[in-house]
């Protein structure tokens, strides 16, 4: 009897028997659903034609592949699902591209796809088509994923950054910087250890709760570049300054500590399970109440200013500083 493979070889990507086996034994076994036919190159999915189709796509190259709170498999679902959710759409179907490096342990791949399946179930999406490539050693960091997502935006839903007005309030659905800090620790580069976990999760419940609020103007998920980068986006989209209150922004103690040690700012670290929303001032408390179940740590953290201007942070001491746009990956400082 043939000994089962424990690692990915180049032959797993050659289109032949081994590749078919890999797709069926790993991907289809975990991700299987009535619409996924691994023998076809396209999927046919029901669509009732009511509303607007939303499409997004994203690539995932995180290192390490596994970290506390998730792995690249769950991230490949959450990243794409969340982009659809904050656009006001209900995510439905995903396609998947998997780039696997020769020599990757099958057991690892199994764990990644298992997490992917779980994240997809939680988010109510199905992976309906996919493609697998095996690349040579050293050509990608173990595994890369790319997912494309389709969702439906119901009629009447309109989220338009042009509706942002002076005095609107800014809400964040939970502590910021968890994902960035957890991945940084998991890399082990800095010899720091801790029990930090990524916040990687679907934001659909938060987004749906907010969409019930009259006065919701805009939503975004603060991924790369973190909260500060979304704040800058808001200044560009609204043509107005943004004022944030340092004391109101939730940051976990462990994240704050890592940042203190390394000289990073948690406001620039990625989140993978948070929503930043702009709501009319009179709807702010209602928005907070609406998300209280899905996001108990949500806070109102700032306002849209009257005039054009930068992102200004009011410090805990009552001073002000400007939050600059992220320019380069931060380098840890000397002492």
């Amino acid at each position: 009897m043939e000994k089962p493979d424990t690692h990915i070889g180049l032959a797993h990507g050659n289109g032949g028997r081994l590749m078919r086996q890999l797709i069926n034994d790993v991907f289809a076994r975990h991700l299987g659903n009535p619409h996924l036919d691994t023998s076809l190159d396209s999927a046919f999915v029901p669509f009732d034609g009511n509303g607007t189709l939303a499409i997004t796509t994203d690539g995932f190259t995180v290192q390490p592949l596994e970290y506390p709170g998730g792995n690249i498999g769950s991230l490949a679902i959450h990243g794409t699902v969340n982009d659809l959710a904050v656009a006001g759409a209900r995510p439905r179907y995903l396609s998947l591209n998997a780039f696997i490096e020769e020599g990757t342990e099958l057991a690892l791949l199994e764990r990644l796809v298992e997490a992917m399946a779980e994240a997809a179930r939680d988010s109510g999406v199905e992976i309906v088509t996919g493609d697998t490539k095996v690349v040579g050693r050293g050509e990608c960091g173990g595994v890369f994923f790319a997912t494309t997502g389709v969702g439906v935006r119901e009629p009447g839903v309109e989220l338009d950054s042009r509706s942002i007005r002076p005095g609107d309030r800014i809400l964040v659905s939970g502590p910021v910087g968890d994902h960035g800090a957890a991945v940084m620790l998991a890399r082990g580069e800095f010899g720091l250890t801790g029990d930090l976990a990524s916040d990687s999760a679907s934001v659909i419940p938060v987004a749906r709760a907010l969409m019930g609020i009259e006065g919701l103007r805009f939503m975004r998920d603060p991924t790369r570049g973190g909260l500060a980068t979304v704040a800058h986006e808001l200044t560009r989209l609204s043509g107005r300054g943004v004022r944030l209150l340092e004391e109101a922004i939730p940051v976990r103690d462990a994240v704050a500590s890592v940042c203190e040690v390394l000289g990073f700012d948690p406001l620039y670290l990625a989140c993978e399970g948070r929503v930043v929303a702009v709501v009319a001032a009179e709807a702010a408390e209602a928005a907070l109440a609406a998300v209280s179940e899905a996001a108990p740590d949500a806070r109102l953290i700032g306002t849209i200013e009257d005039e054009p201007g930068p992102v200004v942070m009011e410090t805990g001491l009552g001073g002000e500083r400007i939050l600059d746009e992220l320019e380069d990956d931060p380098l840890p400082r000397i002492c």
Binding site: E247, T315, G316, G318, G319, R321, E327, P332, R333, C335
Partner: protein, 374 residues
């Protein structure tokens, strides 16, 4: 975050600011130099200038380790990494500092030089242990805070019998720099810089203690208050300096009692004294050649001295003419006095070293600039 958030408490901070406003005599001005880049960073990060009355001005000093490193010394490190095929172990914020001809360690790395970012000198020793076939050079920079770890690395390498580890030593001394500022024509003759008192460094003083500053207080009649790096520490230090100046005192006071004693860390001092010796003079960016201000490795440990091990040359360098870093380091000019600040020179594309490290005055101004200042 315990032991940190207590020292950032908003209410206490506003109370201290109110105290400063009440005690500052409206009839006079207070020019206080925060020597250390750690203070410069804290001042801007927490928006402290907004809390101070107009007649209390902070003058940013030269205590940013990355900023004061002479370009010629950085060029040597770049040369070691590119010409000698060594693994160069460097602190992260050194990487973007521009050397001659706009070269930097970061650019050298992208062109194939093996440059590793380290957080502690122990990692450099570990690199040497793990790569016995390669030469590993620790690019050692900084004031008294970072010197003992470098000494430890040399001792550790000796204990392990490593033959492929050496140190490019650029460690400098705080008291020499303070004296250089107080003796400079800018301060003594021209009055271009007014310094009424010093906010003394916190981490440096945990090592050297508060005693070395007594000389400045007595000889130059300048009060020194050693303060911690948290915003409440800085505000308390400012209040103490104002009290001294109002009362005509010039003493060394210690606000940072939780970390600093008069004698300092005697064990660390001993380790440093056994491993390093004074250079007759050392070049600083901005301050020029300062007598007895830098350390080199003792002959006893010569085999760990990269300057002896490799033929590193010292080539003359030309500063970018438009860059005001030297004057900013001396406290003569403010970042906003520089023509290229924020336009040609940005953190992304730094022309001078002050724009690189988060402790540099220009980078702090740029990142955290206040709307009124910006």
């Amino acid at each position: 975050m315990r032991y940190v958030s207590e020292f950032r408490d908003g209410r206490t901070g506003r109370g201290l600011a109110e105290l400063i406003r009440r005690r500052a005599d409206p009839e006079r001005k207070y020019h206080l130099m925060e020597f250390c880049g750690g203070h410069t960073h804290a001042v801007f990060r927490h928006g402290l200038p907004d809390l101070l009355p107009e007649n209390v001005e902070l003058v940013h000093g030269p205590g940013c380790p990355v900023c004061v490193l002479a370009i010629s010394r950085l060029d040597q490190a770049i040369e070691l990494a590119t010409e000698n095929d060594v693994i160069l172990a460097s602190y992260g914020d050194m990487l973007r500092v521009p050397g001659s001809r706009r070269r930097s360690l970061l650019k050298a790395r992208s062109q194939g030089a093996d440059i590793r970012i380290i957080q502690s000198t122990a990692e450099a020793v570990e690199l040497a242990r793990a790569h016995p076939e390669r030469e590993v050079v620790l690019f050692a920079i900084g004031f008294e805070t970072t010197t003992p770890p470098t000494a430890l690395a040399i001792r550790e390498a000796a204990a392990l019998g490593l033959k492929n580890f050496s140190v490019l030593c650029n460690h400098v001394l705080t008291p020499s720099a303070i004296q250089s500022i107080l003796d400079s024509p800018d301060v003594r003759e021209l009055g271009r810089v007014r310094v009424d008192g010093f906010i003394g460094p916190s981490h440096v003083s945990t090592i050297i203690g508060s005693r070395p500053y007594e000389f400045f207080a007595e000889e130059y009649q300048k009060p020194v208050v050693i303060s911690g790096f948290e915003p409440l520490d800085v505000l308390a230090g400012i209040a103490m300096l104002i009290d001294q100046l109002n009362e005509g005192r010039a003493e060394v006071e210690n606000q940072f009692v939780r970390g600093v004693s008069r004698a300092g860390n005697v064990k660390a001092q001993k380790l440093v004294a056994e491993t390093f010796e004074l250079r007759p003079e050392f070049e600083w960016r901005g301050l020029g050649n300062v007598p007895y201000s830098g350390l080199r490795i003792k002959t006893e440990f010569a085999e760990y001295d990269a300057e002896r091990r490799f033929r590193v040359t010292e080539k003359p360098v030309r500063e970018n003419k438009a860059c005001e870093c030297p004057a900013i380091i001396r406290g003569v000019k403010k970042p906003t006095d520089c023509k290229i600040f924020g336009t040609v020179c940005t953190p992304r594309n730094p022309i001078g070293s002050c724009m690189v490290s988060s402790e540099g005055a220009c980078a702090a101004y740029y990142r955290y600039r206040h709307r009124r200042a910006g």
